[in-house]
């Protein structure tokens, strides 16, 4: 019952899917203890952040049917907000708060402007406008190097409680030091969980139902009496705000913000792929999509290396699985997943493209 309320009544609705989601959430919740090591903790934190980023994009693409290429711009606005505040005001919580408020406000405001100017036109034009604005923004960031650090980005101090020097408690639990890194990870995990549940609440609210009606048939939604442009604008702003918050988390986790980590078009493509692999129009898809994608991105090389070593005596195979060919295999995996799960992993597991 409590779970039902926490999930806004929108349960995974499939035993396998429930198992997977619970597995991922538990693994993330205990990641520092289950998978010790800097690299695995970094992977876990990225998964948490990208779940939020992908879920917020799915609110637009999957639930409302709006194609936007500006999502990384909003992600970047949040990240740069915190980065600029921390670099200029020093590593205090006040700077984090100021940067967060500034970045999120700017993201929501910009989203509103883009929405009001271009949501009335056809979907393809909106996509083009977002692409143009996002590109312009990326160029602007690299030009304003005295503020943004240009292509090099910004490195800064995060609040002491989040830095490795901070000791929560002396000693170790399960051989893990209880330091600021751990605090930082749980800040990522809990923020991600909170934002995900918030988005789940939104899509299952009357507002979310109208968004889905607009996706299904915008004219009909209008004829029932919903001013679709308002709903689409609010969805765009909400999605931008949450993306900016994900950017804040990214900035705090990496202690560095640059175009490569927040604004690049590659990240935009990654987000799109994660939404499609997980399943459009279902927020649970973002959990699966982000986890699968980031794990593949980070560990496919190792897996391939293992395969190559295990098959070292055989012809051709070791060459095919040589670690440097990992991008090729990542591509093959995407094609296969889209071919076999056209409605995404979640759509497939739930049995029907709802």
């Amino acid at each position: 019952m409590m779970f039902q309320r926490l999930l806004s009544g929108d349960t995974p609705r499939s035993r396998v899917l429930t198992g997977l989601i619970v597995g991922i959430v538990l693994a993330l919740a205990f990641a520092p203890f289950l998978f010790p090591g800097t690299r695995s903790l970094d992977t876990a934190a990225r998964i948490c952040i990208f779940i939020v980023l992908v879920a917020s994009y799915d609110l637009l693409l999957g639930y409302t049917g709006i194609v936007s290429f500006a999502h990384t711009m909003f992600f970047g606005l949040g990240a740069y907000g915190v980065a600029i505040a921390l670099s200029n005001l020093g590593g205090g919580w006040g700077a984090v708060l100021l940067g967060t408020v500034g970045g999120v406000t700017l993201a929501v405001g910009l989203a509103l402007v883009i929405a009001l100017f271009s949501l009335r036109v056809r979907a393809i034009f909106f996509a083009m406008v977002t692409l143009a604005v996002a590109s312009a923004f990326a160029i602007l960031v690299s030009q304003l190097f005295h503020i943004t650090g240009g292509e090099d980005g910004l490195s800064y101090q995060v609040p002491y409680e989040l830095s490795p020097a901070f000791k929560l408690v002396k000693g170790k639990i399960l051989d893990v030091r209880l330091d600021g890194r751990l605090v930082s990870y749980y800040l990522m995990f809990l923020s991600a969980a909170g934002l995900f549940l918030l988005l789940l609440r939104v899509v299952n609210s009357p507002f979310g139902r109208v968004l889905q009606a607009i996706r299904e048939n915008g004219f009909r939604a209008e004829a029932i009496g919903y001013t679709t442009v308002h709903y689409r604008a609010i969805a765009t702003c909400l999605s931008a705000g949450v993306a900016a918050l994900a950017g804040v988390l990214m900035a705090l986790w990496l202690r560095y913000t640059g175009p490569e980590t927040t604004l690049s078009l590659d990240i935009m493509v990654d987000i799109l792929l994660m939404v499609v692999i997980g399943g459009m129009g279902t927020l649970y898809g973002s959990i699966l999509g982000a986890t699968l994608f980031i794990l593949a991105q980070n560990y496919l090389k190792e897996v391939m290396d293992l395969i190559a070593q295990a098959t070292v005596g055989l012809p051709v195979i070791p060459d095919l699985f040589a670690p440097e060919r990992w991008l090729l295999w990542l591509g093959v995996l995407f094609i296969l997943s889209v071919y076999f799960f056209p409605t995404g992993v979640v759509g497939r597991l739930r049995g029907s493209p709802r």
């Binding site: 299904e216 029932i224 493209p353």
Partner: protein, 263 residues
């Protein structure tokens, strides 16, 4: 029916389809409405008055402009000339959602259900102002029991007839002052047409004002109170349904065939 038809000389071009309703002004009035779709001049001066209460049938050959008339009323096509007033308010230039919020419900030819949402969600969306009225919902589900059966199923999985029932149910969950129904029996099996006819009869019993386009003349005759016939983007005849139903010569003149042949 206390209403009597006035000005019903057929095929004289531009007369107003007017039916006195105890001196009350009509609920909906179209005067000289023109609509262009791209370069095509579809409505060429439609004059139509819909009295409050009762069901007005909009008949005519394919391409006469019946659906365009309905879509123009809903603001889905722009009025290029003329005026549409509803309960005294001008509808010209209003956006579709604003027109809908004036309590006009539209059931389009294409039904336009939200296929990815459940039957329940479709209904909840239509009850825009808040939770659904329990009694009204009960009445609707009694009219269309299959909707209750598939209450939590995706609406896209319903059969054609069930989708049509959902489209009508969605339009009546909130008591609309005017209901526009476009060819509800299109492509439906005769058994379902019977159920729909009964549903519309009951709706009338509740005092709903309905404007309906229909090609099934058995149904048109069974439920229609007044009738307006369109041809080439104009109203060419207006009068009582009973008069038209009796006058086979008039039917052949207006519609190209008599209703008797279609029963």
């Amino acid at each position: 029916m206390s209403r009597t038809a006035t000005e019903t000389s057929p095929r004289t071009g531009h007369q107003t389809a007017s039916h006195t309703t105890n001196g009350r002004p009509p609920l909906l009035r179209l005067s000289g409405v023109h609509t262009h779709i791209a370069q095509y001049h579809i409505l060429q001066g439609v004059d139509l008055e819909i009295p409050e209460g009762g069901l007005t049938m909009l008949l005519g050959r394919n391409g006469a402009g019946k659906t365009t008339t309905m879509r123009t009323i809903m603001g889905l096509w722009k009025v290029s000339a003329g005026e549409i007033t509803f309960a005294g308010d001008r509808l010209n230039g209003l956006k579709t959602p604003d027109i809908a919020r004036k309590s006009i419900a539209h059931v389009p030819e294409t039904m336009g259900i939200f296929g990815g949402l459940t039957v329940r969600e479709n209904m909840v969306l239509a009850a825009r102002t808040g939770p659904m009225d329990e009694d009204r919902l009960r009445w609707i589900l009694d009219l269309f029991p299959s909707l209750e059966k598939f209450w939590n199923a995706p609406a896209g999985a319903l059969s054609g007839g069930q989708k049509q029932m959902l489209a009508i149910a969605r339009a009546v969950i909130e008591p609309a002052r005017l209901l526009l129904i476009d060819e509800p029996t299109k492509g439906l099996a005769p058994a379902i047409v019977g159920a729909l006819t009964e549903a519309i009869r009951q709706l009338k019993g509740f005092g709903a004002t309905i404007l309906m386009v229909e090609q099934n003349f058995a149904m048109a005759k069974a439920v229609g109170d007044t009738v307006a016939v369109m041809d080439s983007g104009r109203i060419v005849h207006a009068g009582s349904m009973a008069d038209l139903a009796e006058d086979t010569a008039l039917q052949e003149g207006l519609l190209g065939f008599s209703m008797e042949m279609h029963q």
